[in-house]
């Protein structure tokens, strides 16, 4: 026998939404709540938590506990946060610089070729991130694709290296490479909608190429640019594969720090606290983005 469906539309709607709500609840809300709670507990020596309320995880971010139990301001973690922002920002800018022309190029192709270009851009995205990041070790590393010719030409001695690997540079390259499709796609989406006769109109009204670009194309591509920047910046901020492999574990970022706390350092509350801080920043950016998107929509109500 089939159970009677409830008559109330409200009830029926919540029933229809139930699967989605359950998935969001189980896979997103509960873990986040657990993390939030853990961040306010005490660490057990070898992983896990002691159920005592404590702000020590957050204190640990800013202060170092001395032997006599006094606290001393310690910038170590702040530096890691700052570096994360810096590297994520630089990666975002690099993605924008490389991604915008690519998106523009695709949007100017004949319509039947565009999907092929989009596919080409996204293909690397479907392969394993770890593998792709290892590829950069082969390119940038000792005796890698870049160093080999130098060595062959005798410009680099046997013990010398260009030092490309295990640097901020290598991390930035890895982040840029990994997330560039996330920059190209939204920009392409907004450029594809752009009516090219507007660019002609700009040229007709005495705009040089640069002026047409800065006064017409950029403003109209802005929603895509903002979305692309967020989509690159946010995951870059929390990335851990690239800093780990390409930074060699010496150049920590927020993502690697979180991972480190849960694995090697066995300090779950501290790892959770860092994750919560990361989450707070992400939320902040998303709110700013929603604001910008709303303003953009208000601009072209059609």
């Amino acid at each position: 026998m089939i159970a009677n469906l409830p008559d109330s539309p409200v009830l029926r709607r919540s029933l229809a939404l139930a699967p989605a709500l359950i998935i969001i609840g189980v896979f997103m809300l509960i873990p986040m709540v657990v993390m939030a709670i853990f961040s306010f507990l005490e660490a057990k020596s070898f992983g896990g938590v002691v159920w005592n309320f404590s702000g020590s995880a957050y204190i640990q971010l800013l202060y170092e506990r001395m032997l006599d139990d006094s606290l001393r301001l310690s910038p170590g973690y702040l530096i890691i946060i700052a570096r994360s922002f810096l590297l994520a920002f630089v990666a975002m800018v690099c993605c924008l610089i490389v991604g915008f022309p690519v998106a523009y190029f695709i949007s100017r192709q004949p319509i039947q070729h565009r999907n092929m270009w989009v596919l080409l851009i996204t293909i690397p995205f479907w392969t394993n991130q770890l593998v792709r990041t290892f590829a950069w070790i082969i390119i940038l590393g000792r005796n890698g694709v870049i160093e080999a010719p130098f060595r062959f030409a005798g410009l680099l001695g046997a013990d010398e290296t260009l030092g490309l690997m295990y640097s901020d540079f290598a991390i930035t390259v890895g982040l840029t490479y990994t997330f560039i499709p996330l920059m190209v796609l939204p920009i392409y989406a907004s450029l594809e909608k752009l009516d090219f006769s507007l660019v002609e109109a700009a040229a007709d009204l005495y705009s040089s190429r640069w002026e047409a670009f800065s006064k017409v194309i950029i403003p109209l591509a802005k929603p895509g640019i903002i979305a692309g920047c967020l989509l690159v910046f946010i995951p870059s901020l929390g990335a851990f594969i690239q800093p780990d492999l390409l930074g060699g574990g010496k150049k920590l970022m927020l993502g690697t720090l979180v991972q480190f706390q849960f694995s090697t350092a066995r300090n779950w509350p501290f790892g959770s606290a860092i994750a919560m801080i990361l989450l707070a920043f992400v939320m902040l950016f998303l709110i700013l983005y929603a604001r910008a998107a709303r303003n953009a929509k208000a601009m072209d109500l059609h």
């Binding site: 009516d195 006769s197 507007l198 002609e200 109109a201 700009a202 040229a203 007709d204 009204l205 005495y206 705009s207 040089s208 002026e211 006064k215 017409v216 403003p219 109209l220 601009m299 072209d300 109500l301 059609h302």
Partner: protein, 384 residues
């Protein structure tokens, strides 16, 4: 390169109120010399323009008229600089501009779909060209106000284009293109997106604005009424070829060939062979054996066959036996301001007659026999 840029300065001394009677012999604004345009290459090449040559005078309201796909837009785009010509020369006030980039041509365009900048207010749209020309701010403000007043849009200065109706957007597009006071204004079917009433009102306004500003207008349309009612002169095009350039009267009354005659207004064509020496008048014999006198000014001397052309409103009906030939009324179409009648005169093609609502005309019904007067002055031999 640099001297080119300076000599084709887009600057114009006085924007709107240039007196019309700054007469003297009319200067040539635009000169097209065997302009050809081929899109693509190899097997997919399309010849959009073929050896187009004509002149457009300064201060003229000039119309490019032709059916869809005849190359009107292409010609306009080569003038604006959006397309390169494949061959030929375009001169603007005597200067070859084929290598001058769009943004250095003192020419502005009103686009078919307006192409207003959606992220700028009406005022910013209108100011756009002036800002790129680095005009002083107070001059820009003055010109923008003046232009918005000219197109009656001053109340909408702070709106965004998306908040305007089609007709209003059209006006803004016009104001935006006029603001930098170009030497030539290009208009690509600017009225085609408007409804009939608005279109007719805008015809008048466009014409007035052209007269007031004294700017040369090059207007593209495929609507013959629009072309006839607005233009000083018209160029009729077909499949990339120029057919005829002339005043509306010349085009309508004396079309040079069958295409022009048929495209600009309704026309009767009667095929005939020439039966007398060709002078100012000629006698022709139709397939049905009818002998007709016709105007032969456009006939060539060796011509044997001819196409006779006659506008429907130039045909008169009379009592049976009193006309050039008798015919039978086949069909009557009442159009309100006039009546179209199809009359069988024993020729392969019947004759269409247009009668304005004249009370003195005899009323007739399908099947009636009437006399048809084919006036030798109105009947013209078309060039081959």
């Amino acid at each position: 390169m640099t001297n080119k840029a300076t000599s084709v300065s887009p600057l114009h001394p006085d924007p709107v109120s240039r007196p019309i009677e700054e007469a003297g012999p009319a200067r040539t604004a635009v000169e097209l010399d065997r302009v050809g345009k081929i899109y693509g290459h190899g097997t997919t090449a399309v010849e959009a323009l073929h050896e187009i040559s004509f002149d457009i005078r300064d201060n003229e309201f000039f119309t490019l008229l032709g059916p869809s796909g005849c190359g009107k837009t292409t010609l306009l785009r080569t003038l604006a600089g959006f397309e390169h010509v494949t061959r030929g020369v375009i001169r603007l006030f005597g200067q070859d501009i084929v290598d001058v980039p769009t943004h250095k041509r003192p020419v502005n365009t009103v686009f078919q779909h307006y192409s207003l900048f959606p992220h700028m207010t009406v005022a910013d749209n209108v100011a756009y060209g002036l800002r790129r020309l680095k005009k002083p701010a107070d001059e820009i403000r003055g010109t923008v106000d003046e232009m918005l007043r000219l197109v009656k849009m001053e109340r909408f200065a702070d709106r965004l284009p998306a908040q305007l109706s089609g007709g209003q957007q059209q006006r803004v597009a016009l104001a935006r293109a006029l603001a930098p006071s170009p030497k030539v204004l290009l208009l690509d079917e600017p009225l085609s997106a408007l409804d009939l009433k608005l279109r007719q009102a805008m015809r008048q306004e466009l014409k007035q604005i052209q007269a007031r500003t004294g700017i040369t207008f090059i207007f593209v349309t495929h609507d013959q009424d629009e072309a006839l009612s607005m233009s000083d002169r018209i160029a009729v095009m077909s499949e990339g070829h120029l057919q005829q350039v002339g005043t509306p009267t010349e085009i309508y009354e004396h079309p040079v060939n069958r295409f022009v005659a048929g495209f600009v207004g309704d026309a009767n064509f009667i095929e005939a062979e020439i039966a007398s020496p060709i002078g100012a008048k000629v006698t022709c014999r139709t397939r049905g054996g009818l002998e007709l006198q016709a105007d032969a000014t456009k006939a060539s001397s060796g011509q044997r066959d001819a196409v006779l052309f006659l506008r429907p409103e130039k045909v008169r009906l009379t009592e049976p036996g009193a006309g050039t030939v008798n015919g039978t009324v086949r069909d009557i179409q009442y159009l309100g301001n006039s009546t179209l009648m199809e009359i069988d005169i024993g020729e392969p093609a019947s004759v269409i007659v247009r009668q304005s609502g004249d009370v003195n005309q005899p009323a007739c019904r399908p099947g009636d026999t009437v006399g048809v007067v084919l006036d030798p002055h109105a009947l013209q031999v078309l060039a081959e």
